[in-house]
Symmetry: C2
Subunit: 413 residues, 2 copies
Amino acid sequence: MTMALDREAARALDAADPLRGKRAGFALPDGVIYLNGNSLGAAPLSAAARVGRLVRDEWARDLIGSWNVHDWIGAPQRLGARIARLIGAEADEVAIADSTSVNLYKLLVAACTARPGRKTILSEPGNFPTDLYIAQGVAATLGDRTVRTVEIDRLCDAIDADTAVVLLTHVHYKSGHMLDMAAITAAAHAQGALVLWDLSHSVGALPVDLNGCAADLAVGCGYKYLNGGPGAPAFLYVARRLQAELVSPLTGWMGHDAPFAFGDDYVPATGIARFLCGTPPILAMAALEEGLAQFDDVSFDDILTKSRTLGDHFIAMVEARCAGHDLELISPRDAARRGSHVSFAHPDAYALCQALIARGVVGDFRAPDAIRFGFTPLYTSFEDIWNAVEILERVLDERAWDRSEYRVRAAVT
Amino acid sequence: MTMALDREAARALDAADPLRGKRAGFALPDGVIYLNGNSLGAAPLSAAARVGRLVRDEWARDLIGSWNVHDWIGAPQRLGARIARLIGAEADEVAIADSTSVNLYKLLVAACTARPGRKTILSEPGNFPTDLYIAQGVAATLGDRTVRTVEIDRLCDAIDADTAVVLLTHVHYKSGHMLDMAAITAAAHAQGALVLWDLSHSVGALPVDLNGCAADLAVGCGYKYLNGGPGAPAFLYVARRLQAELVSPLTGWMGHDAPFAFGDDYVPATGIARFLCGTPPILAMAALEEGLAQFDDVSFDDILTKSRTLGDHFIAMVEARCAGHDLELISPRDAARRGSHVSFAHPDAYALCQALIARGVVGDFRAPDAIRFGFTPLYTSFEDIWNAVEILERVLDERAWDRSEYRVRAAVT
């Protein structure tokens, strides 16, 4: 069992951390302990200069010629190849495009269409809402499909000959529970179903091995642990063996086999390019590329080890120092079953979260009663989490959260 | 008939141009006559600083809190309201979201679903390819719809009781031909069909009056005459009277009635917000907002007058000075039927276009045989077009385009 750290021990862990040098690559404001990189990653220090250069030295100077001169046109695949390394995929299996939600729609429709006799999209209740919403939109569009949700511990048994696709988030957005990608994928394949993994809450914080799990399809977010900036474009993965079979419903010109031939009939491109749709968002991609560059010289073993150690120590400290304050751990205690964030339930979670933010500890609230604390291995330090628990303990001891001003709901929670 | 300008007359027109002060707001490189703002608008001078500030002073400093503090969450509607003014819409009828192609898909599916007994999406052959491709993707997804194309001069007669939606581009991407939005919309309504207008090649260069035409639906591009930057997010318009009836198939969380309640079931938001999908791309929106700011103190009469006068003079100069060189006008001669670009066919259009670009005159090639010259009223001057024709005349007289190096095709043409 992990013992609660004291400050000196936390500093010693930081001094021994092989990733300690990475923090200097990020802008982290003084006085803030940022435990919300799982929602919006911090800004790489190089990002402001990069987007400024893109505007001044590419767009403003070379104008339309930049699509060729600066290889803007290759950005979706060039960045895709960088992400492939983070998720156990081949470079030609990943592309950057659109948002996570739009990519979910593309791949769900393509998967359902490729399994025409199977009428069910299977997921779990409480999955990240946009995943369920998009699945419902797919069912509504196609007309003859149903979205079925089954509690995760019975989900594999519910996969059957009617299951077209299983839609799951690798790490649960609220609880941090990490699913067994290999086992669930195998169970789905045994029944002839496809699996679509949402990697939004794992990519960049934990190693993912899509090809090692014989995965079919995946999507993921660019602005959480990948630090691509607010609303950064997302990515999609289609296993090479499925690329010829699947066709996107969003048949935009960038997915055409010859987009500049300007013919009237859609012909899907060969390979991953057929899952592109509109003109790629070049400014946003430049920022995302700076986020991805932070992973260039990083060991994934180090990322995994640090993610788990941060979580273990955080749980141990909270439980040792904040006992008797109605905090209940809702994340798995076993680090091997947990992503890189830890959540606690609290009867007044919203106000508690606001009181912490007012004191510089930035986690977030998730309805109805959870506080999440996210640990980004590239920049969260052990001293950060020691300080965070120090402040949390004081806020609880003093009931400092129990003020009406902390109950005013903001537009974005 | 417009007489061919000489240089002094061109300068006199510039001196009298009420929009002459707007050019100073854009970065236009020395030695370049940029006649391609219809493909990628020039960079506002303020754009680099703005995106740098967004990264440094919002994302890096206020992190996740920026969604509230800097009203990132309101950006899709705030920018939508600015565009509304350019297209004759109410502020609550327009939002920024996704790409033009994705927005076309949303509105086409929503329109078809709202007209279930009608099986045809009607368009014209040679419409902008992504419009036709997306329509084909919609038909493939829905299963029971057909895309029918009819030459534009017979299109109104082809609208019938089976037409769900008429899909047309207001200004044709190649020819520059501008359609009669009011007449076609009325003809469609007389048959009970909806109309979806693609404004990509008109918005920002010509006044558009959607509400004056009783228009139903529209989409448009952010990176052409709106100068929002490469791959800028697009906009969509849904007439207020249709907003409750239509539902997007792309039911992402940002279109939910309560996105932060994190419920399992999709409930569409009231109003234009239901057509949002994923997390809005904030960096790209900041650049687009700088593009939109260039229109703040501009008269639309001035924009229209200048667009037409530039086009008329360009045609007159080319025809007077480049006769006998196989250039054939393929745009309408009548400015009232023309958008803000002028195209000529030429037997070796690709090489001619490359030779012009090598000499600083940037138009573009459109397969198989067209050269387009776009006039952006905010920054194209009369002396620009005089200089462009001067260079064009020389390239043709000297057959300077007839070199193998100008026939090497680039990835993006």
